[in-house]
């Protein structure tokens, strides 16, 4: 690829290069696909190219995008977390359960105030992350199987606690993150944008962010260089749990209730977005900006397929096929011959 023109050139003294400055080439590979999806969408339906529809797409993608940040932190360090999707359901459920006083509608009867319930939601995510950390980092169990079991366990806890009921009638403050608007734009979009900016910079310009890359790129070298590998890994799992809980709160706010299946199957789209966005499953490679383009591509596609009136039963098949194509495309255009 053209970006490799600056391979080691012996004899030449060094310039303060800015080679991978703001936008690496890899982060742009999905742009043509996004543009194509928009063009197709504008032909498919008149309703597509409207600002309302775009806000709609962004809002519907916002929760997914926050979980993608969470997964990216862990993938960069070379591990996995499948249980994030269960946290998206369980954490806001716990908050709602603590708030609701009526036990008939699935509440706990505690009647917790909303301003205590929201920290409780985040705490729930942190606790799940900490337990995952204990099993993966301390006991050295395989991350895939640990978080798969955790996914099933948490899903079951959610069903068990509410008896399969949908929780509604929640205070407006509790729903604010998913329903409020700032300057006419949903809060959840602002929130996702701020998180992408903050964590994107964190991953690039903070030593802990770089430590994640070092761990995923070569864990032994990171350890020899003095990175506290276990601690950083554990921290990443906890922060990821909290982000997933936050995403769950945003989702709950948008639909004004907690359904028992909230977050179900989300993890597939989380991995799909991250991987087509250039995050390596082997760790140490990829950027948050790329992951964001992955989320946007999937969000636009979902929207286009709905507007194009693809029969509902076929939407998933088409969606899956397009994800595969996007993967192939991103390998051909961006990944080049690079491994992983």
């Amino acid at each position: 690829m053209a970006n490799n023109a600056s391979g080691a050139a012996p004899g030449r003294q060094i310039a303060p290069g800015r080679r991978n400055s703001l936008l690496g080439l890899r982060e742009l590979t999905l742009i043509p696909a996004i543009v194509l999806a928009i063009i197709v969408g504008s032909f498919a339906s008149d309703a597509f190219l409207t600002s309302d529809n775009f806000l709609n797409i962004l809002q519907q993608s916002s929760e997914l995008s926050v979980v993608v940040i969470a997964e990216t932190l862990i993938l960069l360090a070379g591990k996995f977390d499948l249980s994030l999707e269960s946290v998206v359901g369980l954490a806001p459920m716990m908050g709602a359960w603590l708030i609701i006083t009526n036990q008939q509608t699935g509440g706990s009867g505690v009647g917790l105030a909303w301003w205590l319930a929201i920290p409780a939601v985040l705490l729930c995510g942190a606790i799940v992350g900490a337990i995952n950390g204990f099993l993966i980092v301390k006991l050295r169990l395989n991350a895939f199987i640990v978080t798969l079991a955790m996914l099933i366990l948490l899903r079951g806890m959610q069903l068990g606690t509410t008896g399969g009921k949908t929780l509604f009638d929640l205070p407006d403050e509790y729903l604010y993150l998913g329903s409020g608007k700032w300057l006419g734009i949903p809060v959840s979009i602002w929130l996702a944008a701020i998180l992408y900016a903050l964590l994107g910079l964190f991953l690039r310009y903070h030593r802990l962010g770089r430590a994640l890359y070092a761990i995923g790129g070569n864990v032994e070298a990171a350890r020899v260089a003095g990175v506290r590998v276990d601690r950083v890994m554990w921290g990443a799992l906890i922060v990821a749990g909290m982000l997933a809980a936050l995403a769950g709160l945003m989702l709950t706010g948008r639909i004004a209730s907690v359904v028992p299946s909230q977050g179900q199957n989300m993890i597939f789209y989380v991995f799909a977005s991250a991987v087509i966005g250039g995050i390596s499953l082997n760790g140490g490679k990829g950027r948050l900006l790329g992951a964001l383009t992955g989320v946007l591509l999937l969000g636009i596609l979902q929207n286009v397929l709905t507007l194009a009136e693809i029969p509902a039963f076929w939407i998933d098949a088409v969606y899956g096929a397009i994800i595969l194509m996007a993967l192939v495309l991103s390998r051909v255009t961006g990944g080049g011959t690079e491994e992983a």
Binding site: A8, A9, I14, R19, H206, N218, V224
Partner: protein, 488 residues
């Protein structure tokens, strides 16, 4: 680089037991690769029993002719001894249904026939090193192989087990099995082998019956006629006089690491360069790793500038002034996809900005400084480090160790796998640090790396066995490293 092997010819007659010796990098592993069909020679050929060796792709035919017992297990750990012995050749009824009883009896019969005793129903993961070797040898014999290569078979065995292995080899030899025996311990080959082939720089430099090759001649052949030349190369720079620090920058007192290091003490003064030599597995690397905080010794203390170091904490060791270059830059040194700048500034990351932030400008300036002072050739400090040559990667790893201005520099094989020019450059860097008053410990068994040292300590089987001031001869040092005569 150069050829790993050039013009090597050797014949091993049936029933012989041949020792293959040579220093690291002499070409032993390459030769084993060629003999087992893993590496295809550029020219020349291999014959078994007077017939040309099979095509490289025909692994099974190779396996019928030659077997190699490596230090690493090649058994399937989750299957039983019997299954491993008869893998893919199990006694089976029509349709491929395995007859377990017949398989067990067959395995027992074979083992007994070669004078080996073992419970054939246990899982191979539960075997001791000795038992595993028995199974590997027996498996080769079952397949009809009568030529067996033993690659450092005694490295993990204890005295009694080594004895039994030797007996077994003698017994099999009497039945016409031929052995090629590779070992670092010269003493051993005199017990097991009838003939010896010495490799040096990819060539056969000696081949003779054991009786005709006393140890001194074997060592001389391994070292070659460059004897003394390497140590003469050393530019003797007197240590800064007048500077007589009360506390040595580095002192190690009686450290014990598992069973590999058994009570080693040493001290390195300011501006002194000390070599720590020994065979693979002698414990020398563990001493280096313990100083760097990578492993926690079972007992003993490490003092930096006279104060005890909390062990097992890499960041703490560095704060106290220890710079470290790991043994293998690929597995422990570099993060290949990250930039040169990032790889080099890992050890000073807290100096690059407040609150854990990394200010790109400061990182660039720091990296530029290192690139210039160490003359690293790269197109940009933002280049991924994997694009650099080996020598420049190693310089970057060295730059990282030096970045924190260490008082103690621990270097494991600092010039391994780099070209001559880079080697000289790396030595110059070490020399500069040393002249600046840094205490340097070079852990290696490469003679040219040791030749820059003021004195060399030899570790053999976990203990310091000899000390050589500058001006040692290659023969005497190598003999001490190989454990002959245990010191002078």
């Amino acid at each position: 680089m150069s050829q790993a092997l050039s013009d090597v010819s050797m014949r091993v007659p049936v029933g012989d037991s041949r020792a293959l010796v040579g220093r690291n990098g002499a070409g032993k592993s390459t030769l084993v690769g060629v003999l087992t069909g893993i590496i295809a020679p550029d020219s020349g050929r291999v014959q078994f029993g007077g017939r040309d060796a099979p095509e490289p792709a025909e692994r099974q035919k190779w396996r019928d002719r030659v077997a190699c017992v490596y230090q690493k297990s090649t058994l399937v750990p989750t299957l039983s001894v019997a299954e491993n012995l008869l893998l893919n050749a199990q006694p089976a009824a029509r349709g491929g249904w395995i007859r377990w009883g017949a398989m067990r009896r067959e395995a027992e019969r074979v083992l007994a026939g070669w004078g080996m005793e073992l419970d054939v129903e246990q899982d191979c993961s539960r075997l001791s090193v000795e038992q595993r070797q028995i199974v590997e040898i027996a498996r080769a014999l079952i397949q009809g192989t009568r030529f067996i290569i033993l690659d450092e078979p005694t490295a993990e065995l204890e005295g009694r087990e080594v004895r039994r292995l030797f007996d077994r080899i003698a017994h099999l030899q009497a039945t016409g099995v031929t052995f090629l025996y590779i070992s670092h311990y010269l003493e051993e080959i005199y017990e097991v082998c009838r003939t010896v082939t010495v490799l040096r720089d990819g060539r056969v430099v000696a081949e003779a019956p054991m009786e005709a090759m006393p140890k001194e001649r074997v060592v001389a052949a391994m070292v070659g006629d460059a004897a003394g030349a390497a140590s003469a190369r050393r530019h003797v720079i007197a240590r800064p006089a007048g500077v007589t620090p009360q506390q040595p920058p580095l002192e190690v007192r009686e450290i014990v690491v598992g069973s590999t290091v058994q009570g080693v003490s040493l001290r390195v003064e300011a501006g002194e360069c000390v070599g720590l030599a020994g065979l693979a597995g002698s414990g020398k690397s563990e001493i280096g790793d313990a100083i760097a905080g990578l492993i926690v010794p079972n007992s003993g203390t490490i003092l930096i500038n006279g104060a005890a170091l909390r062990c097992g904490d890499v960041a703490e060791a560095r704060r106290r002034g220890v710079g470290y270059v790991p043994r293998d830059r690929h597995t422990q040194g570099i993060v290949p996809l990250l930039s040169i700048a990032e790889n080099m500034t890992m050890t000073i990351i807290e100096q690059l900005g407040p609150a854990g932030l990394i200010l790109p400008r400061r990182q660039q300036i720091a990296a530029q400084g290192m690139v210039q002072s160490l003359q690293i050739v790269a197109s940009s400090t933002d280049q991924p480090i994997k694009e650099l040559s080996g020598g420049n990667q190693q310089k970057a790893v060295m730059a990282r160790a030096l970045a924190s201005a260490p008082r103690v520099l621990v270097l494991l094989y600092p010039t391994q796998g780099v070209d001559i020019a880079s080697k000289e450059a790396l030595f110059a860097i070490v020399e500069r640090a040393r002249a600046g008053g840094t205490a340097v410990l070079i852990v290696s068994d490469e003679l040219d790396e040791l030749s820059v040292c003021d004195r060399v300590l030899v570790v053999f089987k976990g203990r310091l066995t000899a000390e050589f001031p500058a001006g040692w001869t290659n023969e005497s040092l190598v003999a001490a490293i190989e454990g002959i005569g245990h010191g002078e």
